[in-house]
């Protein structure tokens, strides 16, 4: 059989076929694609149901978690008191009640006593819309660890819902001054549970965490001149890292913890040196006739960012740890000091003076874009939290130096609780 296709026939057949297809699509509904580009800076609505716990425990887990999540700026913690049920077990959860509250997620939990004066803390993080569990954990702890456990729970909630590590279980260091009494302290990230590292009648400044969080380097004036010490937070033992002629100050740890960058004067102007963590191997890094100070390492360990007035006024520069020329980093304004890098190395936080006001400022290193984050006038000593999301700094409110935290995008600002007295020189510890 030989089929000879007629061209007209062909065209008509093809036409019919395509038209039919077209009509078929129109009538039977092939999937329309809708593109949604961008979004909003939303807060995640979450309900923290009070944990079932004995009234004589020192801390309310739900309250600690609530305060942590609120402070991060990324969560809207919902009021739960109006809800009829107070579930502590999965079976007790009535999802529609929580959906009515417009919650995206919720937590439930309980604390039970175990023999030997121990506690079992269990919690679940639930997806209210999908009505399923996102995470659930149990902890076997001593009563003293209760607050720290609450911070760990907050960390897990934070990480599951934002994709970033939480910093609620980290620690901060700072110095308080009352009259002529100076105290170097280490506390939880929320400012509670403070412990004394050094107490002195002479000033203490510039505390710096070792990368593993076990040591603090700091500058003490107890010998009537600035001297750098390194102290173990585990044993309390300390040694003199640098006591050269003149000033010894501004210690900054390398990311691998093996070296520090320090500032010496040797009778002349402040210059940057590198030294091994055990005090050996001193080598000069910067060579200028100006002030070079406040050295801080990039997370990849290759660059030292520092403050210098070699251009006539203090600005931030960077140079290779191997030495060589320095490149200027800040170009806006006439006074930029106290640089610290974000954990991912992409941003620089510093203090900028504008019109006599000293303010926390963040700069995007790749683009040079600058954003002033605070509206106060006496900010100092800014540093990033180890997840890069928050910045801690000292500021002056009504004549007193207090600690504050601001989110890296400037949206949320919070005062941290302090025990009284003047608080200054904060530094955020590692994860």
């Amino acid at each position: 059989m030989i089929c000879l296709y007629n061209s007209h026939m062909t065209k008509k057949l093809l036409a019919i076929w395509f038209v039919l297809n077209g009509l078929l699509s129109a009538t039977e509904g092939a999937a329309l694609t809708i593109e949604i580009v961008g979004g909003a800076a939303q807060q995640i609505p979450i309900a923290i149901v009070p944990f079932a716990q004995s009234a004589n425990l020192p801390d309310s887990l739900a309250m600690v978690v609530d305060a942590d999540l609120r402070r991060s700026g990324l969560f809207r913690v919902l009021e739960t008191r109006g809800v009829a049920s107070v579930p502590h077990e999965l079976a007790e959860v009535k999802y529609p009640e929580w959906a009515a509250l417009q919650a995206q997620a919720m937590t439930i939990g309980k604390v039970e006593t175990l023999p030997g004066n121990r506690l079992q803390v269990s919690f679940r993080l639930l997806d209210v819309v999908k009505q399923s569990q996102i995470a659930g954990l149990e902890y076997n702890i001593t009563p003293r660890q209760l607050r720290q456990t609450a911070h760990k729970i907050a960390d897990i909630i934070y990480e599951k819902l934002t994709g970033e590590p939480g910093v609620f279980a980290t620690r901060i260091t700072y110095i308080t001054k009352s009259g002529k009494h100076y105290v170097l302290q280490v506390a939880d990230a929320d400012g509670s549970n403070a412990q004394t590292v050094l107490s002195s009648v002479e000033p203490i400044i510039s505390p710096a965490w070792s990368p593993d969080g076990t040591q603090l380097a700091y500058v003490s004036f107890e010998k009537k001149k600035p001297v750098i010490y390194v102290q173990s937070l585990v044993s309390g033992q300390r040694y003199v890292l640098a006591n050269f002629k003149g000033n010894n100050s501004a210690p900054g740890w390398s990311p691998d913890g093996k070296k520090l960058a320090i500032v010496l004067t040797h009778g002349a102007n402040s210059q940057i040196y590198l030294i091994n963590a055990d005090g050996t191997g001193l080598a000069q890094l910067s060579h200028s006739n100006a002030i070079d100070t406040e050295p801080t390492w990039s997370p990849d360990g290759k660059w030292i960012y520092f403050t210098s007035d070699r251009g006539g006024s203090p600005q931030i520069y960077r140079m290779s740890v191997l030495g060589g020329d320095a490149q200027r980093v800040t170009y806006e304004g006439s006074y930029n000091v106290s640089p610290h890098l974000s954990p991912d190395g992409n941003q620089l936080v510093y203090i900028r003076r504008d019109d006599g006001k000293f303010r926390v400022t963040v700069q995007e290193l790749a683009t040079g874009q600058v954003q002033v984050l605070s509206d106060s006038a006496q900010d100092e000593s800014p540093s990033f939290a180890p997840n890069g999301r928050l910045i801690i700094y000292a500021t002056n409110i009504n004549g007193r130096n207090v600690l504050s935290a601001v989110s890296a995008d400037g949206r949320v600002r919070q005062r941290l609780s302090e025990s009284g007295g003047d608080v200054r020189e904060p530094s955020w510890g590692p994860l």
Binding site: M1, I2, C3, L4, Y5, N6, S7, H8, M9, T10, K11, K12, L13, L14, A15, I16, W17, F18, V19, L20, L23, A26, T27, E28, G29, A30, A31, L32, T33, I34, E35, I36, V37, G38, G39, A40, A41, Q42, Q43, I44, L74, Q104, D127, V129, K130, I134, E159, K160, L161, T162, G163, E164
Partner: protein, 262 residues
């Protein structure tokens, strides 16, 4: 082997089939103007088939005619031409019209005309005889044809207008859905890159989602996927056009997200 097949019922079947096709095809034909049915006698090429081609089998060998087919809608449905075609070539009722044979094939059949030569002459003689029969039929069916023609034209016009209007409404509601969902997308938990997410959802006429959204393309960040799915859920009920016939286009949606772009 080529042979002609006699099928007494073919006429009726063919007429019905032609009517149906005519309805469908007028949608593309509206703007076309038609010359009078009666044409001066011209050489008409005819080919005989031994099997009836079905309309939904596109002849695979000739992709070229496609562009020509669409602007000049080849399947111009005209009842009289089709029965004519049927008489002449009984096996190809759905497709053939003498007009087409005359107009369009001018380009394509030319090469074929060169091939056929002597056979052509014989065929043409056959055609001339049949043409007379055809003319009689034409006269009879002229009125009927004109009526259906008019009706088809009107329907075609209405359908085209509806299509234009509906595409405008569809776009309007696409934009509404887009805006409503975007409000709830939390872009703070989607990292620093430019992730792309896709979800497939099925809607009920109320605008609510039936079943659960299906991730067809993940951002790679669980928290981001969660936040986007939450936004979709939160945006219910999605705004839908009031015309029920348009709902079909919205029943299944693909939602594509690029939360970190502007």
């Amino acid at each position: 082997m080529i042979r002609t097949r006699e099928n007494p019922l073919a006429l009726r079947a063919g007429a019905l089939s032609v009517l149906v096709h005519g309805l469908l095809l007028t949608l593309l034909v509206v703007s076309f103007s038609w010359h009078s049915v009666v044409q001066p006698l011209q050489v008409a090429q005819v080919e005989l088939w031994d099997s009836l081609p079905t309309p939904d089998q596109p002849p695979p060998e000739l992709p070229k005619p496609l562009p020509k087919v669409e602007p000049q809608p080849a399947p111009k449905p005209e009842p009289p031409p089709e029965p004519k075609a049927e008489i002449q070539v009984k096996i190809k009722p759905p497709v053939e019209t003498p007009k087409k044979v005359e107009k369009k094939p001018k380009e394509i059949p030319k090469p074929k005309a060169e091939d056929k030569g002597q056979d052509e002459i014989k065929r043409l003689q056959q055609l001339l005889a049949e043409d007379d029969k055809r003319l009689e039929h034409e006269a009879q069916q002229k009125d009927a044809q004109q009526l259906t023609e008019a009706r088809n034209a009107a329907e075609a016009r209405k359908a085209a207008e509806a299509l234009n209007a509906s595409s405008g409404v569809v776009n309007e509601y696409k934009a509404k859905i887009q805006a409503k969902i975007k409000r709830y997308v939390n872009r703070q938990v989607c990292g620093n890159g430019k992730p792309i997410l896709e979800f497939a959802i099925s809607l009920m006429p109320t605008g609510e989602i039936s079943g659960t959204p299906r991730v067809t393309r993940s951002s790679g960040l669980p928290a981001c996927d969660m936040a986007v799915e939450y936004a979709i859920q939160k945006a219910q009920p999605l705004p839908l056009p009031p015309q029920p016939e348009l709902f079909a286009q919205f029943r299944d949606l693909t939602l594509q997200f690029r939360p970190n772009e502007e």
